[in-house]
Symmetry: C2
Subunit: 576 residues, 2 copies
């Protein structure tokens, strides 16, 4: 049978029939699909707890009052909240596929996330964006997109793609794309770099949002950045920075994730005077952090424990992000809003008992099954075939010249300049570090030295290496370095701990070299085991063996970084 | 020369070049077009008065700090506010053209209005909407549109047009159309009338706003109305009604206009807890009210005098309406926002000294000239040719049958049933009233009687008659009734006071029979003079001779109304 394209009249009629049902239920002429009986719920409009039955039909809240339904759930004594929203996250940071991520955050009450597929786009370009759009279609966590603004992050990177405004333009028509993601190149914006500004202007031409990323920017430069069209910031780590941005009209995303934790510093924002302009985000959430602490619920709990009025914290956790992103059908419990609910015991314990998505019970101590979105086989194949690196040998890592020594700083991702070295010296903790270009088989291998990592033998390698996700490897000998890199290429990506040519621990990440096909629990298990092996090989306690490594190739953070072309002094922009 | 269509790349380049200029000025590399030096300004984000120079380029605010500009205006000691926004008005109610309206409200600090061209659409259908769009293009008051949802207002009306969802659909693509105007047919919405619901659904399909109009609606019916997709209400006249709607997620437009004045009753909304969901509107502003009291500035002043915190009142006067209507480039003083400013002396006097629109000084005690938009000659001709009525004689108003007597209630627009009459009896204040269908020359003339109007001799007629704008006439004799109606047709619309075949006073309203081509001052002068004449003819003091009359043909307000088919009992829906 030929498929018939729906006419405009047909579309309106279809939507109207749904709406007629909604109206009949709201007015009490038909039973609801679901009623939360005897609810105490947070009203984000009147800033109070209200008491009523909440009726749902067609996935939408239709009314509050006295209602009866096909399904009735008594929530006496509980508190019902709108589903939570993460205003800014890179889903890839969880190391699992979007559906596995959804499974992990649903029990924590998250029903919407706004993701920036920056990592996968640096590997696969627009195919990566499309992969993530397809892999998130109809998930019970609504995944919305901001289009990556900085691929590659810097021209010094050798990434898998180079996206100008025109490359991403057609994605603005996708119904789940909300705008342009964090404009990290704030220097470019402030200095009126045409390639930066045309990306912003194009997003505005599509009436979309533009997120910011400008830690500490102030004064006339901040004016210029905001006047360019950047509407939010999630990089504030002190209250003065946040207030300067808020006063100039930026929305503040209070970030509390795995790597960066700004909630405590920004607590003064969570009061009547400022909260309207504030929301929560995580930016990055790693597997064990997601499993052990939770997600947006963890931020709300922590805010309340720090003295924030619960309803104020709830608004930042749902309503304010919804309004910022113009997702006007969520973030509140009122007629016409999505039936996204979090049922908790009370604000003190904040124990999540039930989670509903569009009126469907998804979690009540046990997670409900949901179908995993099917992705176009072309994209699946493309995502699982992103390594283009010939087999390497120890010889590829031999290098008689002196090279810069990157000095790690415990607990930080900044580094310091530790001078020069021309060979590995395990006694003095001088290890070899290398980045192998892996997108185009250029055989570009940047070699340098690193101090502070602590490895006594073997090698550690990862294909998570910000932001271009080339392969980064640190070793006590060149043979294991080559073996570790070859193993990652064989696995189509991931993390490997290697000694004497034997794999001690590993996490395969075959989706674009940055995400697993496995479950979050399994990935976390493998990751923790590999981490233990790395520590056994001598990695300095306090240094995360993989995460810290993944930042060593990001040539925007001072002072020394390893790139595919050698060790770069970020301050002088010279290779050393 | 052939005109070349701008390419997408060309459009982005044009916008980028403007933006580059904005960034250069913001960062201090180029001088601003305008700087308000030493400003104290209301910051709607941090809810405080801030102090800085405000720099403007390309019509946009680019920064606050220390700036220099081609033009510098010292505003030391003054307070700078964002330009005001009227969230809901029928421009036609001013009786003048949109450019004359703009001249009247600019000195009062209004820089944006959202209009519902309901009146002209009832006369001219979509041609009326297009006329208003063209007549407001590039005015120094930005006029945004909500599309009329109820043309005709009821099926009992004989209006000039009948607009279903499809008739107005193409207007949603117009850049100044924000949505669907007040859904007055709340009964239809609550009862799931498909023609009402499809209008709402179509507006939603275009991602547009839908305004409400549902005085006193509550309970499950209110749930149904809101669940149908109605996002605001401007008909709240008491705080309980307003809070019920606010709690269910509607934005509340606090109305303070000529006919309806709800500010005092709704003052409790203007506090931290609720203000985010509230804004100001006027709905209708008649000439003398505009000239004597002002516009949104009058509401702000009154709110402050009633004890509202000034910054709270200012937010309701600009920022909150902007956010509701997704006009995200106005309603605040911050980088990227329009250079729409109101400069006042202080909050106590609230004397408006200067008004800027997009960085241009439009008023400083004297109004600056601006070009009047040119309207397509077809539409001009169409608007000035809306009367299709053959010449009438006294005989057309003769009627031996008994007809219902409409009893006017002083100070109200509701009426009461005063029984029957079959002839004029001036002694007993029984006058004849008639409505003459005037759009299609049907010669439908509904005849009845009215008590309480007080006319002793002559006749009063008007072509402003809600909502179909047929001609309504009241007379002490049939000859003057015919003469008055004929005079209005001759004038292509307006108001006439007639005695013994002579015009005593009149206001020609040749644009669709409801607006003048003349200035507001002249229209007001003619109107007040005609009013005086009507009172001289005996019209009861306390009854507005024309405005009260204009509601007598609106067959939705109890109890008796005159229609083109006779006297209708609104309660029983029977002609009497």
């Amino acid at each position: 049978m030929m498929s018939v394209k729906e006419s405009y009249a047909g579309k309106i009629n279809r939507k109207m029939n749904k709406k007629l049902h909604v109206i009949h239920v709201a007015s009490g002429r038909m039973p609801a699909d679901l009623v939360l009986k005897n609810a105490a719920y947070v009203n984000v409009f009147s800033n109070e707890i209200c008491h009523a039955d909440i009726a749902v039909a067609e996935g939408l809240i239709v009314g509050m009052g006295e209602y009866h339904g096909v399904e009735e759930v008594d929530v006496s004594g509980k508190i019902v909240l709108p589903g939570f929203i993460d205003a800014h996250i890179h889903l890839e940071s969880s190391l699992v596929s979007p559906s596995e991520f959804a499974k992990a955050v649903l029990p924590h009450g998250t029903t919407t996330v706004i993701t920036d597929p920056h990592e996968i786009a640096n590997v696969m370009g627009t195919d990566g964006i499309e992969y993530m759009l397809q892999a998130t279609e109809d998930l019970p966590v609504d995944v919305r997109f901001m289009l990556p603004s900085c691929v590659p992050a810097t021209p010094l990177d050798e990434s898998g793609a180079n996206l100008d405004y025109r490359a991403i333009d057609s994605f603005y028509d996708h119904p789940r794309v909300q705008g342009l993601a964090e404009m990290m190149n704030f220097v470019g914006a402030v200095n009126a770099d045409p390639q930066v500004v045309e990306k912003i202007v194009a997003a505005q031409a599509h009436h979309k949002k533009i997120d910011g990323h400008a830690p500490g920017l102030g004064g006339a430069d901040l004016n210029a950045y905001i006047a360019a069209g950047v509407y939010s910031d999630h990089e504030c780590s002190d209250i003065e920075d946040a207030l300067a941005k808020l006063r100039r009209g930026q929305f503040i995303m209070i970030r509390e994730g795995t790597a960066a934790r700004n909630l405590e510093a920004l607590i003064p924002l969570l009061c009547d005077k400022y909260v309207e302009r504030c929301m929560f985000c995580t930016d990055d959430k790693h597997p064990n952090d997601l499993l052990e602490k939770g997600h947006i619920d963890y931020i709300v709990k922590k805010a309340i424990s720090l003295g924030v009025e619960p309803i104020t914290a709830i608004k930042a956790a749902c309503h304010n992000a919804a309004r910022y992103f113009l997702l006007n059908n969520r973030g509140a419990i009122a007629p016409g809003y999505l039936g996204d609910f979090v049922v908790i015991d009370n604000f003190e314990n904040f124990h999540i008992e039930k989670v509903f998505k569009k009126g469907k019970l998804m979690y009540d101590g046990q997670l409900r099954d949901f179908p995993v979105p099917e992705v176009d086989p072309y994209l699946v194949k493309r995502a699982h075939n992103t390594f283009h690196v010939s087999l390497l040998t120890a010889n590829d890592f031999a290098d008689p010249r002196p090279r810069g020594v990157i000095g790690m700083v415990p607990g930080e991702i900044v580094t310091q300049d530790e001078g020069y070295a021309n060979h590995i010296d395990v006694e003095k903790d001088i290890l070899k570090i290398a980045v192998i270009e892996r997108h185009k088989n250029t055989h570009h291998i940047g070699i340098g030295y690193i101090k502070g990592y602590g490895l006594q033998e073997g090698a550690v390698a990862t294909s998570i290496s910000h932001d271009s996700h080339n392969i980064i490897v640190v070793g006590a000998n060149e043979e294991d370095m080559a073996a570790a890199v070859n193993r990652i290429v064989e696995n189509k990506g991931g993390i490997t701990v290697m000694r004497n040519g034997a794999v001690l621990g590993e996490v395969p990440l075959p989706i674009a070299g940055i995400m697993s096909d496995d479950s979050l629990v399994n990935v976390n298990h493998d990751l923790e085991e590999a981490k233990a092996k790395a520590y056994q090989l001598g990695v300095t306690p306090g240094v995360d063996p993989f995460m810290t490594l993944s930042f060593m190739a990001l040539p925007v953070i001072p002072s020394l970084r390893i790139t595919t072309r050698g060790v770069l002094d970020v301050n002088t922009q010279q290779y050393v």
